[in-house]
Symmetry: C2
């Protein structure tokens, strides 16, 4: 790993633990194993480090979204692939998204950092909203809309369905603690199970 990458990921970890203002260039440098002034060989300023973290996360996020929601093509075509197996697929979406933001070495501290900085920094606020609220809700609204049209889901406001599916994931993420991983995952799966029992049309058997 290059020194630049090491600075970036160390800064992310420290920012997530103590906040942007709570981490000095000297602390960061010490943690990396160099002197504060040397950081400026890699980044032009402290803010530059922060912005680079944002850019790095944006790139990784695009990758993971494509990885988790494998079904390619338009959302209509994507929805077809869920027909007949909504619960497993929903489990996969919820679990994948959750584990990524709860445990990934980059995404987990990023979520904490951006949560902490959302009110202090306009860009952080926008990223928080887009990544953890609107982005997730919009995608899932579209998904459920198609599942309703295809008769897989009972007919009601897809925005509310998306809210009912995603909000518990969001809350469990916000309250996630490594020491209670198993318990949290069980709750998550119970939620998805209950969710599909409520919203997925019973199959004629």
């Amino acid at each position: 790993m290059t020194t630049k990458d090491l600075i970036l990921i160390t800064a992310l970890r420290l920012f997530s633990e103590r906040g942007y203002d709570g981490v000095s260039m000297r602390e960061l440098a010490t943690e990396v194993g160099i002197k504060a002034a040397s950081i400026y060989n890699h980044f032009s300023s402290k803010e530059d480090i922060f912005n680079s973290i944002l850019v790095e996360m944006q790139n990784r996020y695009e990758q993971i979204v494509n990885t988790i929601n494998v079904p390619a093509g338009t959302s209509k075509e994507a929805a077809k692939q869920y027909v007949g197996m909504p619960e497993e697929k929903l489990q996969q979406i919820a679990g994948g998204l959750f584990l990524y933001f709860a445990k990934d070495e980059f995404a987990a501290p990023f979520r904490k950092m951006i949560t902490s900085e959302q009110y202090r920094n306009t860009i952080a606020g926008d990223v928080f909203m887009q990544m953890f609220i609107n982005g997730a809700l919009e995608y899932q609204t579209e998904l459920f809309k198609n599942l309703i049209e295809q008769g897989e889901f009972i007919d009601c406001d897809p925005e509310i369905i998306a809210l009912h599916f995603y909000a518990p994931v969001f809350l469990l993420l916000a309250s996630y603690d490594e020491t209670k991983e198993q318990e949290t995952m069980e709750t998550l799966y119970k939620h998805v199970n209950q969710f599909s029992r409520l919203y997925v049309k019973r199959r004629s058997e």
Copy 2:
């Protein structure tokens, strides 16, 4: 309002906007209309201000919980009072809780501040969890448990019901923006409406 109270509420507002570390005693003093050194006539340190905010919120929170969830007595007795009018009452709980933490002059900035500081400050983290996650979930779990026993709600895991009821409120709070109040309130009520459609047993009419 005494100077001490003014310092407290001004500090809360500034902390919620720029974070604890992002607000200097001089800025706070200027905003209050005095000099930084004068603050020490009222508080022993910056941290003392922070802790005083926590104590003040704890007091106000107890009051509001009692105000919103009016039914007194044990939770079993409380649940009886919901019989036959679950949707209106749920609407009241969700709406009351939501509006309080979204718009109250103390609770709204407090929620932002504590959200920002939760990972940096152990006490703030505990307060966040207790006030916005566990406290709400535990109370509602108990409530729904009783509503199930009394045959008002369909029979399933009360913890999951509580999660399904509260998580959307939590998410809407986290994404609350004054400029979209009406839209958010509509979504909130749609959620409650849909929630009771799914969980409240149909009354024989």
